[in-house]
Symmetry: C2
Subunit: 111 residues, 2 copies
């Protein structure tokens, strides 16, 4: 399953700190700029899950620190290629689809 870096809030942690921490743990880059994209509800039929999506920019290389139960293969992509993978149906994870489309829209606007 192809998905954007993501994870659960630690107790008392802010949304921004969680996003920065999970990104660094999973891909080994620290984000110096974080932009809120949107809030989504992935599973309204059977769960109260709430997700907040951020665009991470100005990345600085550190080291990934995976949890013992995480097995991740990093597949870096240009945004435009990732967007193609959304529309081709190759990416089916909802937070990844929405995060990529939202980031594309925001970056186009700001250009």
């Amino acid at each position: 399953m192809l998905e954007l870096p993501a994870g659960k809030l630690d107790k008392g942690e802010t949304l921004e700190n969680c996003a920065i921490r999970e990104l660094e743990e999973e891909i080994g880059y620290r984000a110096n700029k974080l932009t809120f994209l949107t809030n989504i509800h992935p599973a309204i039929g059977f769960a109260n899950e709430n997700m907040w999506l951020y665009l991470a920019e100005d990345l600085e290389k550190t080291e990934p620190i995976l949890d013992n139960d995480e097995f991740i293969e990093l597949i870096p992509k240009k945004l435009e290629d990732a967007i193609d993978m959304v529309w081709s149906g190759e990416i089916t994870d909802v937070k990844t689809i929405i995060g990529l489309l939202w980031a594309e829209r925001l970056l186009k606007k700001n250009r």
Copy 2:
């Protein structure tokens, strides 16, 4: 929560029949044209849920037949207005966000 019509597959039911049945039960219109949009995974962190999204067109008025446990208020929208509600963050349900963006893209292409 604002969401597109949706529901669970009955045993042995095809995806298309389920889409047509749920649409009719929930909004009281029978779709004479159904176009597959995409397949999504809403909750990969904790569930195997799989969803298939369709665009329903050529609608014919019948009657909504709600399950006893369904309380639905219909809020008909023009597609362009619904898309605005996606980008404004008013619609947060993932199947609804993705279904609307996909339908918009498909209809633009076919224009």
